[in-house]
Symmetry: C2
Subunit: 458 residues, 2 copies
């Protein structure tokens, strides 16, 4: 068996396979030595691919610190499985090495038996903190902050500050910025570790700290926090409670995840999907369908309007069926024109580049764009119909003029609807994204049949 294993190993190139082979051969020490050289994110990825029994073995042979790091990068299902499978003592070991915000992140997703097991195996102080964190509203600054930061007093010298950092800094998630607080923990200033290192050891923190500190409240929305990070190129942001006491900090690596999350949410809303909690591949078909069906139903039923417009002109269509052949083209071009505008505006608002006070500028711009794009499309379409379809001037002109009006209308609706939604405190991505096509369709058809009845005298 032993020889066979070694022989097998020689043929294996890929690290994952190599580790799996080592495990099969029960060469745990070697596995441990290979793993501790690796990045915890990569270890977590390997664990995901193992069967659950091997996963537990590996998890148990890893040093505590690394095991905790790997744990925080493991998918929720596996975290639950691990906690449910390991002993109380092991749970306590892992949780004591986890950063508090990682613990809270994972507990938020766990069933109560797991939450109980974890809380039972933490010391009283941590338990109190976890409970406090679990009470912050979802997506608030409080729910994403960490309490692992360095706090200094302003009367300290640089040497004392460094001593304090050395004494307490091992557990801190980031020491790049240190926060200066008074005796009741009110935020007084910030000083970067860089500034401390570059200063003489007898300088006083008060003299080198920056008192113009940006901060946010525990209840502020994470979108606002992300906006502050982007605007001021921050790497950390202190978070205070309602009494202005410093209770935590948000670090930029969490902001990166939030930006992606918010972007995904907006994108899904604009495509008429209720935002998903989980990744696509990890969500089952019923949940996926449920998140899509509501809007599809609303939009399908609202399309009854377009049907009723066509029905009103049934007589006209019967005598000129050719008109029906252009309906899809007119609707698609209108829909595309509208969603181009709404996408630009919704995105511009999300990035803080456009606000509701710009409505008039947007109006003027979209009218201009609509006229330029609309007349170009109408012109090309007119030529195409005259040359290739040999339809006669009147029909060609009707279709092309409708195209021009449709594009202008679509640009206006697409440009203004998101701003109006924002103004009346509705979510622009939800209200404007899916609805624009329906509105534009109705208007385009109304213009079409009106023009047709005038021009073609039917």
């Amino acid at each position: 068996m032993h020889l066979l294993c070694l022989w097998l190993l020689k043929g294996v190139k890929d690290m994952d396979d190599f580790l799996k082979e080592l495990l099969d051969c029960k060469k745990y020490l070697q596995v441990r030595n290979e793993l501790i050289e690796m990045n915890i994110v990569d270890i977590a990825q390997i664990l995901e691919e193992l069967d659950k029994e091997k996963l537990l073995i590996i998890f148990r042979i890893l040093p505590k610190e690394i095991a905790a790091g790997v744990f925080s990068h493991t998918p929720i299902e596996l975290q639950q499985y691990i906690i449910e499978s390991i002993t109380d003592k092991e749970t306590s070991n892992i949780v004591s090495k986890l950063y508090l915000d990682d613990t809270v992140d994972f507990l938020e997703e766990m069933p109560s038996n797991v939450v109980k097991k974890v809380l039972k195996n933490t010391d009283e102080e941590t338990r109190k903190l976890i409970n406090q964190f679990l009470n912050y509203p979802e997506d608030s600054a409080g729910s994403i902050m960490t309490i692992e930061f360095v706090d200094l007093k302003k009367h300290m010298t640089v040497a004392e500050a460094l001593e304090h950092i050395r004494a307490t800094g091992v557990d801190k998630e980031t020491i790049n910025n240190c926060f200066v607080i008074d005796e009741v923990r009110r935020l007084e200033g910030v000083v970067s570790i860089r500034k401390i290192i570059l200063s003489d050891s007898d300088e006083i923190i008060d003299d080198i700290m920056n008192t113009d500190v940006l901060y946010a409240n525990t209840l502020d929305d994470q979108e606002k926090i992300a906006f502050l990070f982007k605007k001021y190129d921050l790497t950390t942001l202190p978070i205070v409670d309602n009494e202005n006491r410093l209770v935590g900090i948000v670090t930029i690596d969490d902001i990166v995840d939030i930006i992606d999350e918010e972007n995904t949410e907006d994108l899904h809303k604009m495509a008429a999907i209720q935002p998903l909690e989980d990744e696509y591949l990890k969500t089952n078909a019923f949940v996926l369908a449920k998140h899509r069906i509501v809007w599809l139903m609303v939009l399908m039923l609202s399309a009854t309007l377009t049907g009723s417009i066509i029905q009103r002109y049934e007589g006209m269509l019967q005598s000129a069926v050719i008109l029906a052949t252009f309906i899809p083209m007119l609707m698609d071009t209108g829909g595309n024109s509208g969603s181009q505008s709404s996408t630009l505006i919704i995105r511009g608002m999300a990035l803080g580049e456009i606000s509701t006070s710009d409505a008039f500028k947007v109006l003027i711009k979209e009218i201009k764009v609509g006229m330029i794009a609309g007349s170009t499309l109408a012109f090309v379409n007119f030529l195409r119909l005259i040359i290739f379809s040999k339809l006669g001037y009147l029909v060609s002109a009707t279709v092309s003029l409708t195209l021009l009006f449709t594009v202008i209308i679509a640009k206006l609706v697409g440009g203004l609807l998101p701003l109006i939604a924002k103004k009346v405190h509705l979510d622009p991505a939800i209200m404007a994204g899916p609805l624009i096509t329906t509105i534009v369709d109705v208007l385009a058809l109304a213009v079409y049949f009106n023009l047709a009845s005038r021009f073609l005298a039917i």
Copy 2:
């Protein structure tokens, strides 16, 4: 005059207005003192709102360091105006205080007279570096990295390392991570400032550095760099040249901008817009129109297909005009269903959650979702038609069955097209976003008329 000014000031609450009043009264020293207490991002914002003459005055009274910081946060047009207006000496002062990557960022956007003026007023070494940076491909790691980082040697002690950081660290954009290089500048390891501070002063860097360093090449795409930051929760990433020599680092604050940029680009592509270089409000109507018109034209012309399908069934439509009233609803529902799927898949791929190897899983999932969503919609639609429209079973069944097939087809096309685009190395957002509606329209109409001719015997 003086008294009037002071009196005016008392009534002014807003900081911006306050500063403008101070400027009007030529109280420059007071303006300077107010400004140097503010965040450079806010100062830049105030400058934007001033007329150009006052802007120059303020810019000149600011301390060099602050002026450089403010400059790097000022919009391109103003940067150009400032450089064109100030003297060679002043240009040299500003540029010498700018970080190299900020200088390069701004020069990339400037006309040649400004570039020349800047290069003329920098020392030879900086000039060489700037030229080297300007030669990196757009959106490559080289073009976004900074050369301001701390490099250590592995034989140094912690005390020596700290001494080296103190001696050279003032100009460094970030000292949170220090990079260890050998005598030919090949990357050997990384050690965080935190680790250095927490270590004893006689420890050797070699013993505390981490040799498992993630790095990227100067020519790697910024999207790949952003992906590494997200996957491994990085704050800095070293960049090496083709000889594996360390030439720069990328810091996470730049990554935040890149993530937003890439998201905007994807979103625009999916809405059939060629990505814009500049903000919406700063782009004129002709440029906006140009960036939208290409796809509108392509999609308008491709909609000729839908027209020709309808034309083929002209006879059928004439004897049952009622069929035309459902075309918009069928097309819209198909379009919405398809874009729901494509959005989920394109976003999932952008976040690295879905890869082309998942095509089969996506196929199965979308068929299931399509059947669930499609049959629900078809059922509701059938009831609606029977009860409210009194159209008879055959027409209602034809429309509802088409709806079912359309939703399934749309889900499949929307789910698979982005994966196929990726597989053949096309941009999924461009290829899949705008085209899906047209493809789904054609297929939906084909199904509709086929079913109608079978069911209704016309």
